[in-house]
């Protein structure tokens, strides 16, 4: 009887493991999906930005009537593009690195180096999310509105800092998980299983 209960217990454990595994997979897939799609966000922004500045230049040159918000909006959208792309680049492994030695390491070796990568990413992201977030709250409480052209609340502008940090942090969580998986199991984490 004891044996039987152990088997049941083991079975339960396995199903529990499966549920955990499944939800981790699902989470990873969702995070990947979100960051993957950021190219559309950036694409729309860059097209809008191009035409807005183009229009501003023409309106200024021919009619002496540039927009009042163009300059400020350009700056803000550039900041948005910068922060939004961090997670995407992490997903695509496009953050520039020197791979002279790195490419010669084994998969496990790479994962071990990347433990430092993740340590550094989390060190970078946590202040952006936490202190950036509290700065947003502070600006929100003060109700400060910019007077420099794009006259929206400053907290909205600054929101991109914790937001971008979160996107990068989530993606780093995924790559971190994969590295740990590889170090522990010795196998590469397969995305579509």
């Amino acid at each position: 009887m004891k044996v039987e209960s152990e088997i049941i217990q083991a079975k339960e454990n396995r199903t529990l493991m499966e549920v955990v595994n499944k939800s981790i997979r699902k989470t990873i897939r969702s995070i990947n999906y979100i960051n993957e799609k950021m190219y559309i966000v950036i694409g729309v922004i860059i097209v809008f930005l191009s035409f807005m500045i183009f229009y501003d230049v023409l309106a200024r040159y021919f009619f002496h009537k540039p927009t009042s918000f163009g300059f400020d909006t350009s700056i803000w959208l550039t900041v948005v593009m910068a922060f939004v792309g961090g997670g995407y680049s992490q997903l695509k492994n496009e953050h520039v690195r020197v791979d002279i030695f790195y490419e010669k390491f084994s998969d496990k070796g790479k994962s071990i180096v990347d433990l430092f990568t993740h340590l550094f990413i989390f060190l970078t992201v946590i202040p952006l999310v936490w202190w950036g977030g509290s700065h947003v709250l502070k600006l929100f409480e003060q109700g400060t509105v910019a007077t420099s052209g794009l006259n929206i609340s400053l907290w909205i502008k600054f929101l991109i800092v914790p937001f971008g940090g979160t996107l990068l942090g989530l993606q780093a969580f995924v790559t971190f998980y994969k590295d740990i998986y590889l170090i522990v199991t010795g196998r590469k984490y397969e995305e579509d299983k």
Partner: protein, 437 residues
């Protein structure tokens, strides 16, 4: 602990991290956050980091960065190079080494449209190289002109490295753009002379098209239509700047719209192409801006250590002339440049070197051009360099030993160019001085 010891530790940790293969941006920010925590009042430093992260990216001049990247993406996926190559092939094919000349000219024209090196490397590697090899051109010479010619992308305006340099050194991006034109043309001429000399000495390296296969004048003129669109894009951007329609930053948007029209005419605006253009934009843009974020954190902590003052004092003690100092800096840059790209080098060294330059009264516009040439040189020196890998990427049949052989003479050419600019700084300063008088 003395400031300069901390700075030394930081620099050492940075080099170790980078060499291990940790992404440069996060090595810089990570180290700065750790060190900052200890020398800048604990969590206070984190607030400093976060506040700066927003504003350091949020500078109007930086708006040009994504715009020029997007423009490069549009041009890259519009297959402009084929048309250009066909034109130069028909015109110069009959000349010994003529295709090498044509490839250099295309690379130079492309450099005047894009702010990076990789677009022309990829496009010419995919189109010009197979055609040259088929015509019996030597692969070492072929790769050499492609890599060196494409390198001009960051020297001839527009140039993303120049924009970033302008922000860091606090010089006018427009002036820096002007300063790069003549040295860029000079380098192109040097590459052309080199190819012609090589093919004159070794006719088998760059054979002329046989007489019977040469093109008629009509065919030659018809092919020129492939050059019209690219020239129109270049002309539009330059004219808007010169006529005072737009500032150099804003001109990037004019270039994007021009390139989009160009791509539309060539019917290249399919969704899959647009997707490629967007993906190139987000990838490069994020890569560069997270470097800016990491680097500005790093620069702050380095200035907190006061290492700049310490080094200035040290260098003053050595009694180096500005010239000697420059040469030392360039050697250091060259060594750093072997594994690293121009932008991270700039970010790593600027907080230390710029103040010294200023106190020595070195012309920062002139130095900007010298710096960029040294970055191109380092990028071309084996065994590492992003361009080499891009070339290998589009032309997998390449033997990397050939690439190395191709690069050395080009390293020599760019070194020669640097020496010429040291002797005749007017080549750099003349044009901006004409423009700004």
């Amino acid at each position: 602990m003395d400031g300069y010891v901390i700075a030394l530790i930081m620099f050492g940790a940075l080099m170790i991290g980078i060499m291990m293969g940790i992404p440069i941006a996060f090595t810089m920010s990570g180290i700065s956050i750790i060190v900052g925590f200890f020398i800048w009042g604990g969590t206070t430093s984190l607030t400093g980091f976060v506040l700066s992260a927003y504003s350091d990216v949020g500078q109007f001049v930086f708006t040009a960065v994504p715009l020029y990247i997007f423009m490069a993406g549009i041009l890259r996926y519009s297959d402009l190079v084929e048309g250009m190559y066909e034109a130069f092939y028909r015109w110069f094919g009959g000349l010994r080494g003529g295709l090498a000349v044509g490839t250099t000219i295309i690379a130079t024209l492309f450099s005047a449209m894009v702010g990076t090196t990789m677009v022309s490397t990829a496009a010419l590697g995919a189109i010009a190289r197979p055609s040259m090899i088929r015509r019996g051109y030597n692969d070492v010479l072929t790769q050499g002109v492609i890599l060196a010619g494409s390198g001009l992308g960051i020297l001839i305006p527009p140039s993303i490295v120049m924009i970033i340099y302008a922000v860091i050194a606090d010089v006018s991006p427009g002036q820096l753009f002007m300063a790069g034109i003549l040295p860029g043309i000079m380098m192109a001429v040097l590459i052309i002379i080199y190819s012609l000399v090589v093919c004159w000495v070794r006719p088998d390296f760059g054979p002329a098209i046989p007489k019977a296969e040469r093109f008629t004048w009509k065919e030659k003129f018809v092919a020129l239509k492939g050059v019209i669109l690219p020239l129109a894009v270049i002309a539009t951007v330059l004219v808007t700047i010169f006529m005072g329609v737009a500032t150099p930053t804003e001109a990037a948007a004019v270039g994007v719209v021009g390139s989009l029209i160009c791509a539309g005419i060539k019917r290249k605006l399919s969704w899959s192409n647009i997707k490629n253009m967007f993906e190139m934009t987000i990838g490069l843009c994020a890569m560069l801006f997270w470097l800016v974020i990491g680097a500005s954190a790093y620069a702050k902590i380095v200035s907190l250590t006061r290492v700049g003052e310490y080094l200035s004092g040290l260098i003053e003690g050595w009694n180096l002339s500005p010239m000697m100092f420059l040469i030392v800096v360039l050697i250091v840059y060259f060594i750093l440049g072997i594994p690293l790209d121009a932008v991270p080098i700039l970010f790593m060294t600027a907080p230390i070197i710029m103040p010294i330059f200023e106190s020595m009264g070195i012309d920062l516009v002139w130095f900007g051009v010298i710096f960029i040439i040294s970055a191109i040189t380092a990028n071309l020196s084996p065994p590492f360099g992003i361009q080499m890998f891009i070339l290998k990427g589009v032309a997998p049949d390449i033997k990397i030993s050939d690439t190395f052989k191709a690069c050395w003479p080009m390293v020599g050419l760019f070194t020669l160019g640097t020496i010429i600019l040291f002797i005749f700084p007017e080549i750099v300063t003349w044009l901006p001085n004409q423009m700004y008088k």
